[in-house]
Symmetry: C2
């Protein structure tokens, strides 16, 4: 077998509701991808089994054997010890101290690296989308929760302990409502999907009207099932409550960006995640106006929405895999 | 003359109310220092003249000629273009676009570098006090306003445009009172000396009692004249209002540190500035408790008050001068 034959990469994105795996060629072009449900409530062993099947299926579909895969990269929510490849804590998955790298390597028998999903998405954005051009980049991901990732002086920044980038629990409103983290008025309460949905629920409970009302009712036993796409639909139909809550989410995102721009003066702020994918056009103009109002020195910080959409995770994981391969 | 004879360094710290200059030997040991009033209201030419006299006087007092000074470092408030040595904007001094490097070099005829005062203080803290041991450090300076400085991966971080570190206008309370920057609930409104004094004034205006009352009255036409030392005195005498406002300042400092620790996971957070010098023992325990409550991953961030006190500025400026010399 020629050496080149082994140069496929697989990128895996483990999310709270979906697992996605993508097969990439040596130049990191996406050949095919596959999505399955995470079924996190069934526990880590079941989830990791589903990851293995998803990886096997996507390679088989392309007639590529696992032996031809040079390396696999995996992005996962939560606090990841990237040296040992353990997930220390991932509340969205109900995981605590899961040795994901060791277990997936044993099952897939390929070189494999695991990293926090925001860091992984930032790898795709920085290496592929921005082509490493800016020196300092802040990434903000609005999804089920809110995550962040930082590039300083052309390097992915991990900070002490390797767990930098937690911006969801930045307090932006000290008088605000309590947060599960123990704080009050965390950014995540206003601009994550969970935060937006909770604020809609609270308004409905307080007697406000919305076209989402019935769906919220039906959704009562399955929080999180109200997807960002549905919020977009209600917004487009002119639902006043949804418009107000989304506008406030966009404004708080602008406040958070302003705080980060004043602190770090990055050349680019990039937004991603499910909420931004669904509501980019509704949110971005409001967010940009607020952020620019708040930016004291850098009057025109470049604020963009990533164009990688839901492929940011698998693409970044493939970048991680290639990096692993290059370091071998 | 032997080459070694020229290896003195001068560090200058320009503040809103005082100018300090220090003479250092080749090993950056402080030989002598001198303070004069800034008299900022008389304009930049007068202030720069006072800097020149202060530098001349401190060297003369040590029988060192200016020709024996290898280089001079200057720390100044405001937004500094460190490449050209211009102060783009310094509201505390009333300066806009002042070519401080060019003008001081012309007067003193020595190699000279100018940098933002927080960056300069961080040089002293990082190089001298912390001996470059930690990799990631956040510095927070509570003075007339609030400033910040960052060290990432052992390097002073400037960000795009060289003006990173603005943490005074981090919004920590979106429902809070308006700030001069156009925002609401900025950190500076709660924990800078100006913020503390304004909150005391507002409480007195609303009918609350304080032993500082008479002093606040006398001070009405000279904002800022109520020094941190006086606040400490009232605190020690058990003044309930002062205790509450200082406690809130300490708590908001804890919130800001929590936000920064979650974002950047530094190994050390170091506090400095006049408010911390005066009120370290009153504030630090409250600040640390709040910050640790807020720190999600890094459970025990190391939070210290700088031991350099009001010498941080001149010492850091001397470090800047030596760096200039080493680069010649």
């Amino acid at each position: 077998m020629r050496k080149r034959a082994a140069r496929y990469f697989v990128g895996v994105d483990i999310g709270g509701s979906k697992i996605m795996a993508g097969l990439f060629d040596a130049k990191l072009r996406l050949l095919d991808s596959l999505k399955v449900n995470t079924k996190a409530h069934r526990g880590a062993t079941e989830v990791l089994g589903r990851v293995v099947r998803c990886v096997t299926d996507v390679t088989e579909r392309c007639n590529v054997g696992l032996s031809q895969v040079a390396a696999i990269g995996v992005g996962t929510p939560g606090v990841v010890d990237y040296k040992t490849g353990r997930v220390l804590l991932a509340p969205n998955l109900g995981w605590k101290n899961v040795k994901i790298k060791k277990r997936l390597r044993a099952a897939l028998k390929r070189p494999l690296d695991v990293e926090n999903d925001c860091l992984v998405a930032m790898r795709a954005i920085y290496e592929i989308e921005l082509k490493r051009k800016p020196q300092h980049v802040v990434g903000i991901f609005l999804g089920t929760g809110i995550g962040g990732a930082l590039v300083f002086s052309g390097q992915h920044y991990r900070g002490g302990g390797g767990v930098a980038g937690e911006i969801g629990h930045m307090i932006v409103d000290a008088d605000g409502p309590p947060c599960v983290c123990g704080g009050r008025g965390c950014f995540e309460l206003y601009a994550s999907r969970t935060g937006i949905v909770n604020r809609l629920r609270a308004a409905v409970a307080a007697g406000e009207k919305t076209s989402l009302f019935r769906l919220l009712e039906e959704d009562r036993n399955e929080p999180g099932a109200l997807r960002s796409g549905l919020i977009k639909k209600a917004f487009e139909q002119g639902d006043a409550l949804v418009r107000r809550v989304v506008k406030e989410a966009a404004e708080f995102t602008g406040v958070a960006i302003g705080n980060l721009v004043n602190l770090l003066t990055p050349e680019v702020v990039v937004l991603g995640g499910g909420v931004v994918e669904a509501l980019e056009h509704e949110m971005l103009p409001v967010t940009m106006r607020k952020a620019r109002e708040r930016a004291l020195f850098l009057k025109q910080p470049k604020i963009i929405a990533s164009n990688l959409g839901d492929k940011a995770g698998i693409t970044g994981a493939a970048v991680l895999a290639r990096r692993h391969y290059q370091e071998l």
